[in-house]
């Protein structure tokens, strides 16, 4: 019987270890996949590694992760150790109070700590970026160091320091030669915990970062919406680094012990550990600072762009950097509202790419600066359909980037065009397709669909109509059990996972190129004619460079790269014609050419009051959706 039990235990541990390592190995294997899929291995290739090295921003994220972890570990270990020693000699009241304070970041949900840091930095007007992230990391690491050093200090003889000083040691000597060597295991353990916490952290970093500073977690979080095997490649590099460090930490003491036996000389473990750490940091810094300097118009300057995720071509950023000598740091948002909050809180970007109604709002609230027409050479290359629209009647503030409609992507094998024509948006209430539907997680477009389905204007201010739309959506999520997703929708529809999805025409174009069975339908009750455009915020640090980027992205080459890669309709007339024309990438793809002359189609208008209502109603729809399961 005993044997049997042991066997079960063994089996369990083996299964647990397989469970832990399966995704890690899966990721490593797929980082060498030739194809883009995460499920089928099509052949060995290093293209994602190449992509990672070319794109630079991933290496930068890796660098940020490790440099912050190393600095935070170092500072928090030193400060934590000294403070722990200090506290152990302090009055009982102080000590107990500080124990409670130290418990704050450990006992609070991480989210609350993160929000606390964010509010702190914003209250004191500290510009969010690398420094704030570092400060926050140090702040949450120190308590862990104290926690692991404290018990070791407690187990020391309290008279040890006195004895040392009685024997003639200065307090400093007593500290360094007597106390610290005694508590070294605690310090090392504390440093390791601090390092792990820092490398692993996402929530706190996510809330306190700014200015395009991203660690690996934030990178993965903002990129995970669309299948991107480069994430696998960069993760594999990270796994490699971590494994090396761990092996070094575990093997080092053995090597040292051997050497001690040989030479008989004593060495502290901290020295080689420190050398290893600095060595790794040095290599990382060396990797980052590669490249030879050349003379170019914007040499050494930096452009901060805040754009939608996956909204630029493969080469445009690298080409622009090559051409100007400037460095582009791009941050990503997945909703206009998310972008607005950051901008309204004073984050300084040089270029934003918001949508129509949001541009109107930004102009109205004075967040944008007028473009300098003399520096722009791109306006006459743009298609007329996106120029001089109501949100910016004379294009004083914005230069269009992409444009399109919102429509229904459907699987031709499952849904007939006749049904679609008959039902329009109401097909999203047809129980025949229950569980086979995607909704896009956008308050604006979901309400657009509901309002249009009910025959109202999507810019309605009528509360009753909005409420009906809300009920329409609630009915939809309760009876149809749709998945409410953002950009995951693109790859999932390209693989034909569901029969119906509400999608942007640009994403639909991409889906149709990937999968011939997919069709795109614009309901007769009308839809949204949207456009996203480049604007320069008032607090931009480098408007000059921003103008150069606007020109670059609107010019044939940049616009072609953007549009052919992303699949959204270019605002550049020539590019649009070429891509949809004979031999073009989107030849015969109906979704690529937006419907621009239909009377029931509308452009979103900004309305503060309605915005709040819609925003709240949509969160309630989503909550109803999760409660419906």
């Amino acid at each position: 019987m005993k044997k049997e039990k042991r066997f079960i235990g063994k089996l369990l541990v083996i299964l647990v270890i397989i469970f832990f390592y399966l995704p890690i190995f899966y990721m490593i294997v797929f980082s060498f996949n030739d194809g883009k899929s995460l499920t089928g291995f099509t052949g060995f290739s290093l293209r994602w590694y190449k992509h990672m090295f070319e794109k630079g921003d991933m290496l930068e994220a890796l660098y940020t992760t490790f440099s912050i972890a190393l600095i935070a570990t170092f500072v928090s270990t030193v400060v934590g150790t000294l403070s722990a020693i200090g506290l152990s000699k302090s009055k009982k009241l102080v000590r107990e109070l500080m124990e409670q304070v130290d418990n704050l970041p450990m006992m609070n949900p991480e989210m609350v700590t993160a929000i606390g840091f964010m509010l702190l930095f914003i209250t004191f007007g500290v510009e969010k970026g690398y420094m704030t992230m570092l400060l926050a990391h140090i702040a949450f690491c120190i308590p862990y160091v104290i926690l692991s050093v404290m018990p070791k200090i407690r187990s020391l003889d309290p008279n040890l320091a006195d004895a040392a000083m009685d024997l003639g040691a200065t307090p400093w000597q007593a500290l360094v030669k007597v106390i610290i060597p005694q508590i070294t295991p605690g310090i090392v353990a504390g440093a390791l915990i601090a390092f792990t916490m820092s490398v692993d952290d996402f929530i706190i970093s996510y809330f306190v970062t700014g200015n395009g500073v991203k660690n690996l977690s934030i990178m993965v979080y903002t990129m995970s919406k669309r299948v991107n095997p480069s994430i696998n490649a960069v993760s594999t590099v990270m796994i490699l680094v971590i494994t090396l460090v761990l092996i070094m930490i575990n093997v080092m003491p053995l090597v040292i012990a051997k050497r001690q036996k040989k030479t008989g000389r004593k060495r502290k473990i901290l020295v080689p550990a420190a050398i290893t750490c600095t060595g790794i940091a040095g290599i990382a810094i060396f990797l980052m600072s590669g490249g030879v300097e050349k003379r170019r118009p914007f040499e050494g300057q930096t452009l901060y762009v805040y754009n939608w995720g996956e909204y630029t071509g493969e080469n445009i950023v690298a080409d622009f950097e090559e051409y100007t000598g400037a460095k582009v740091i791009m941050d990503f948002f997945d909703s206009n509202e998310q972008m607005y909050i950051k901008v309204a809180n004073g984050e300084a970007y040089d270029i934003l790419v918001p949508s129509d109604y949001m541009i109107q709002r930004l102009i109205a609230e004075g967040y944008l600066q007028k473009l300098d027409a003399s520096k722009l050479d791109c306006m006459d290359k743009l298609t007329d359909a996106v120029k001089n629209l109501p949100y910016d009647p004379h294009n004083e503030y914005c230069v269009p980037y992409f444009w399109g409609n919102v429509g229904i992507v459907y699987d031709k094998n499952k849904v007939t065009l006749k049904d679609l024509e008959q039902e329009g948006y109401n097909i999203f209430l047809n129980e025949k397709y229950q569980g086979d539907v995607y909704l896009y997680d956008s308050e604006r477009d979901s309400f657009m669909m509901a309002l249009k389905a009910l025959g109202y204007s999507m810019n309605t201010e009528n509360k009753e109509e909005l409420n009906q739309a809300y009920e329409w959506l609630v009915e939809c999520v309760q009876t149809m059990k749709p998945e409410i997703v953002t950009d995951e929708i693109i790859d999932n529809m390209a693989q034909g996972r569901k029969a119906l999805a509400l999608m942007y025409s640009g994403d639909a174009a991409y889906v149709m190129v990937e999968n011939e069975d997919m069709g795109f339908y614009l309901p007769e009750s009308g839809t949204n004619l949207w456009s996203d455009a480049m604007v320069i915020p008032r607090n931009a640090k480098n408007p000059e460079l921003a103008h150069a980027f606007i020109n670059f992205a609107s010019d044939y080459e940049g616009a072609y790269d953007n549009s052919s890669y992303v699949g959204y309709t270019s605002a550049n007339q020539e590019v649009m014609e070429e891509l949809s024309g004979e031999g073009g990438e989107f030849e015969g793809i109906s979704a690529y050419i937006p419907r621009s002359d239909y009377e029931l189609d509308e452009v979103f208008v900004y309305n503060e009051k309605i915005r709040k209502d819609i925003s709240n109603l949509w969160s309630k729809v989503k909550i109803a959706a999760s409660n419906a399961n």
């Binding site: 832990f20 989210m111 702040a139 809330f207």
Partner: protein, 282 residues
């Protein structure tokens, strides 16, 4: 001696700035309205009222707590026997196994969670495996099961390591003594092993339950947009809706609930230790 205690002063100042003040700010935001200046400062409980009178929010809160409980139970059911087995291995094997469990913790949580997307998605490895076992063709990704799996995956190592540490401290001669005195293995486990490993279990529960309640990227990555937990509601308030005061209020509610729960757990632990003390005396 004075000299040494002075070393703590910079940290005390720092901790007040970086640990206490942020919490105070969250609390302050939760009881004020946006655009409040210091001059026209007024306190309001509207945000709390709004949360507690809304059926949907309460349901989300309940569900977040419930899935955290499920995660904790699963972690405990897997983690305890695993830790027990590991603690009974030879020392070298034990160290190796502990290292095996520690390494994944060093690899970024988001990266590890992201890896599950490929494994769970349609046509992925897990579905193929289930297909071979005749359980195939059901949706795996974007379900509650996926979220639960993600949480167990991320937090199980904490549970195993905590229980393992506690079990390692146990004196195994106690077990022999118990057997010699005629207790059967079940009784020995009940009366000796379990109480002695309880601190580890409680630490493990804390380390699993706490992050599980407030996690927002696991539901977002593996649950899709329709699986909302309280952490997602808070993130949404701060990142998309922009109602920071309401978001702060929800954060405060969550923090207080956690604190109360932790106090309960702590009480249980204390009572257990007290009870054992008494037994010994008898």
């Amino acid at each position: 001696m004075k000299k040494f205690s002075q070393m703590a002063i910079p940290y005390i100042v720092w901790a007040m700035m970086m640990l206490v003040l942020p919490m105070a700010l969250v609390a302050l935001y939760s009881i004020t309205q946006p655009g409040n200046s210091i001059v026209s400062f007024s306190v309001t409980l509207d945000h709390y009222v709004r949360f507690f009178t809304d059926h949907d929010f309460l349901l989300i809160l309940w569900r977040s707590l419930w899935i955290a409980v499920k995660t904790t139970v699963v972690c405990l059911l897997i983690g305890y026997p695993a830790a027990y087995y590991i603690s009974r291995c030879r020392e070298r094997l034990q160290n190796g196994l502990v290292l095996c469990i520690t390494i994944p913790m060093w690899i970024n949580m988001l990266v590890r969670t992201y890896a599950w997307i490929g494994l769970l998605s349609e046509g992925g490895l897990i579905q193929k495996l289930l297909g071979i076992l005749g359980l195939g063709d059901r949706e795996l990704l974007y379900t509650e099961g996926a979220v639960l799996l993600g949480m167990v995956y991320n937090f199980l190592p904490f549970m195993i390591l905590q229980i393992h540490t506690a079990l390692c401290k146990m004196d195994y001669s106690l077990l022999e003594a118990s057997a010699d005195l005629g207790a059967d293995p079940v009784k020995t486990f009940q009366r000796i092993t379990l109480p002695l490993s309880l601190p580890g279990v409680i630490n493990g529960i804390t380390l699993v339950f706490l992050p599980a309640v407030s996690s927002f990227f696991i539901p977002k990555l593996l649950g899709g947009g329709k699986y909302f937990l309280i952490g997602n509601v808070i993130e949404n308030q701060f990142i998309t809706v922009g109602e920071w005061n309401f978001g702060s209020a929800i954060s405060m509610i969550m923090a207080v609930i956690m604190m109360l729960l932790m106090m309960c757990v702590h009480k249980v632990e204390m009572r257990n230790q007290g009870g054992r003390g008494k037994e010994k005396k008898i």
